[in-house]
């Protein structure tokens, strides 16, 4: 059967049951597509401001829902196919199965890859409209696509777009009523007919079942794999995938014409960045820029204004005065506007310190991501990360950790296996100093006036990170996933994309982190007024003096570090200590428990067992390593 003439007969008993509109009369429109094709731009364009984001039960995936002219619009995580490989696919699968129609966003630059999902959606029997996005990028790469031929071959409307500028989006929206069931993969019908004949039920469920989806097979009461009995509903994923691949290859050959792309500067740059020497030099260069922009410009100068001036000179006294009019001196006053006041410290910390730093980090990462550099960086560091049980993809949460460990811990969701998430989380929580404290740490190291402080601090942290990763890699059961990623073409970062990503991630940070810090300062405030805080510090003092050879007041700094990481470092700034003692102190506060916000996220993401082990382990690790170091350098 040739690709150009798929069967013309209308589907009969394989027709999907008439999709029943929701009780409100609205039809469910689902957006589906590969990662990074511009799906969220469509979602925003269709739904506007009123969007409900909720957690998909049983997963750590958030799903966005909105409304648009008689449709209930659901966004799905970017996936390469619908199935059960990871949480993203499972969520996308279930949402797509419940769809009345699908708006499939594909990138014109990567049709060989993107059309695979498209064809799968068609095979599932869902009515589809295809939004052929990033047409501008395709033109830049010398590609020309015969859109009408593609529509004809697929059997569904195809709308060319450049979503980021708005081009084609309205047309796509207006084409939605014309969504229809397209042409399935040739050769698939006999397999499906067999399955339906033997087992009955919905076409879409049956298709996924014979593709070997374990969850769907379970739901239908089928044994997994191709075992026993029912060969008609056996797992035939390989056969189906080969057919689908051949189909997509044929489609691409029929509609895409390539100009000469090898001379494009973007392609050359992309290859060059993968060269170990050039790539590493570039990465170090980027690191230097990162250090200068964030470590100096933002952490010192900008924060000096936002926290030092706006917050501490204007906001805090003002709000303190305001509260003092209604609340007299005493417990409540201290809790609200005291040293760790919920209204004073939390707001200052989040808006004055964390927000500028987090926004700067996210902006930086968004630029790196939009240019296509991040996946290439992942390739460069893959071997190093593999030695500690991770793979190249972990470079993203690890970089983010230097911005905010709380947010980085959430990002570990993108890692492939549970054990990788455990290892990455442990490294983040224990060895990575977030930007809040990094500035103060670097300042203190500089004050010691000797190069060896830097070397000892950096060397110790690095060794602990490697040792911990290696040990966890040996101890944890199972295997980590290996790198398997698609490298997007390199290009100049697009302002709109970068701004949009930075904005949504920063807002996400504010929403997630604020309540956590409020809880933290409430707890500490209560501890302060009940005297529990002083009690803890006094209890800790002997350990600090005896094991770490540090002044008694350092105990206060460590406890403060549990609330705000920078308090830990800042609390040591005015203490009289030798250079050696400073290094010991800094190593200890970096290794010591993560801030309360991170601890809360840890409990949510990793469960109480893992979170508790990490918390207790950090005490042990901090004092053990600090103690050893104290013996060696700070006699």
């Amino acid at each position: 059967m040739s690709v150009e003439s798929p069967p013309e007969t209308a589907p009969t008993d394989l027709t999907p049951q008439a999709a029943s509109p929701a009780l409100t009369g609205e039809r469910k429109l689902v957006l589906a597509g590969n990662p990074n094709v511009g799906k969220s731009v469509f979602f925003n364009a269709l739904t506007g401001l009123y969007v409900d984001v909720s957690n998909y039960p049983g997963t750590t995936i958030d799903v966005s829902k909105g409304r648009c002219e008689g449709y209930q619009v659901l966004d799905t995580p970017g996936v390469y196919g619908v199935g059960s490989f990871n949480d993203e696919e499972r969520v996308a699968r279930d949402i797509v199965l419940g769809a009345d129609l699908v708006l499939n966003v594909v990138s014109a630059c990567t049709l060989e890859r993107d059309l695979f999902l498209t064809q799968q959606l068609l095979d599932l029997g869902k009515p589809v409209v295809v939004a052929l996005n990033q047409m501008d990028d395709a033109a830049r790469h010398g590609l020309s696509i015969d859109v009408s031929r593609l529509a004809e071959l697929l059997g569904v409307p195809v709308v060319p777009c450049v979503a980021i500028t708005g081009q084609g989006v309205t047309e796509a929206r207006n084409t939605l009523p014309q969504a229809r069931v397209g042409h399935a993969t040739p050769g698939l019908e006999p397999l499906l007919t067999q399955a339906v004949g033997a087992w009955g039920g919905q076409r879409s469920d049956l298709l996924l079942a014979i593709e070997g989806d374990p969850v769907i097979r379970d739901r239908l009461g089928l044994a997994s794999g191709g075992q026993a009995g029912n060969s008609e509903v056996a797992d035939q994923r390989d056969a189906i995938y080969v057919l689908r691949r051949a189909r997509v290859n044929g489609l691409v050959e029929a509609v895409v014409r390539t100009g000469d792309s090898s001379a494009r500067p973007g392609v050359w740059l992309g290859r060059w960045l993968l060269n170990p020497w050039a790539g590493s030099a570039f990465a170090l260069g980027i690191l230097a820029i990162l250090y200068w922009v964030i470590g100096d410009l933002v952490a010192q100068k900008l924060v000096g204004v936002t926290e030092g001036q706006i917050m501490q000179v204007y906001y805090e006294p003002w709000v303190r005065g305001l509260v003092s009019r209604f609340v007299g001196e005493g417990a409540l006053h201290t809790i609200l506007v005291g040293e760790f006041g919920v209204i004073t410290m939390t707001v200052t910390y989040i808006l004055g310190l964390m927000l500028p730093l987090v926004v700067a980090f996210y902006l930086f990462l968004a630029i790196l991501e939009d240019t296509g550099y991040l996946p290439r960086l992942a390739v460069l560091v893959d071997r190093a990360l593999a030695s500690i049980g991770l793979n190249g993809r972990a470079v993203i949460p690890l970089i983010l950790g230097f911005g905010c460990v709380t947010m980085a811990t959430i990002t570990t969701r993108l890692l492939g296996t549970q054990r990788e998430k455990t290892i990455a989380t442990a490294i983040l929580g224990l060895t990575i100093p977030c930007s809040a404290q990094l500035g103060v740490i670097l300042g203190l190291l500089a004050k010691t006036g000797s190069w060896s402080s830097w070397a000892i601090y950096g060397g110790t942290m690095f060794s602990v990170m490697v040792a911990m990763g290696t040990i966890l890699d040996r101890l944890l059961p199972g295997q980590s996933s290996a790198l398997l990623i698609d490298l997007p073409p390199m290009r100049l970062p697009q302002f709109r994309n970068v701004m949009r990503k930075t904005w949504s991630k920063s807002v996400g940070f504010l929403i997630e982190a604020t309540p956590l810090f409020v809880i933290a300062s409430l707890l500490v405030g209560i501890m302060k007024v009940t005297g529990a805080l002083d009690w803890v510090m006094n209890a800790l003092a002997p350990l600090v003096v005896g094991i770490l050879h540090l002044p008694k007041a350092a105990a206060a700094a460590f406890i403060m570090g549990m609330v705000r990481r920078d308090f830990g470092a800042a609390g040591m700034t005015d203490l009289p200590m030798t250079a050696g003692q400073v290094v010991v102190g800094l190593v200890v506060i970096t290794l010591f428990v993560p801030c309360i916000a991170t601890v809360v996220v840890l409990y949510k993401e990793r469960g109480w067992k893992e979170a508790s082990s990490l918390w207790i382990g950090s005490w042990v690790l901090a004092f053990a390593i600090g103690g050893v170091l104290a013996q060696v350098i700070a006699r």
């Binding site: 390469y80 196919g81 199935g83 490989f85 630059c109 990567t110 060989e112 890859r113 695979f116 999902l117 790469h141 590609l143 070997g212 994923r237 390989d238 995938y241 080969v242 689908r244 691949r245 997509v248 691409v252 390539t258 792309s261 992309g270 290859r271 993968l274 060269n275 170990p276 996946p375 992942a378 390739v379 460069l380 893959d382 071997r383 593999a386 793979n391 190249g392 290996a482 790198l483 398997l484 990623i485 698609d486 490298l487 073409p489």
Partner: protein, 73 residues
Amino acid sequence: MTLDQVVRGQHIRILAIASADIRTQIIRFGLGIGETAICQQVLPKGPIVLGKNRQEIAIGRPLASGIEVEIIA
């Protein structure tokens, strides 16, 4: 031979992929049994980057050692 033994610049054809799950993911990306590609980069003890049409796919070394290939040019 396996993919982790390939040298930069060689054209290869994929003969077999041991793990079913990896097979599925690789097919989705545009490669698969019988498909050809060019080896664009090999990082020392690190990933292998394959190119096909305009796509570039990076495959970690542990995975590459489970993929049977033959050189065609």
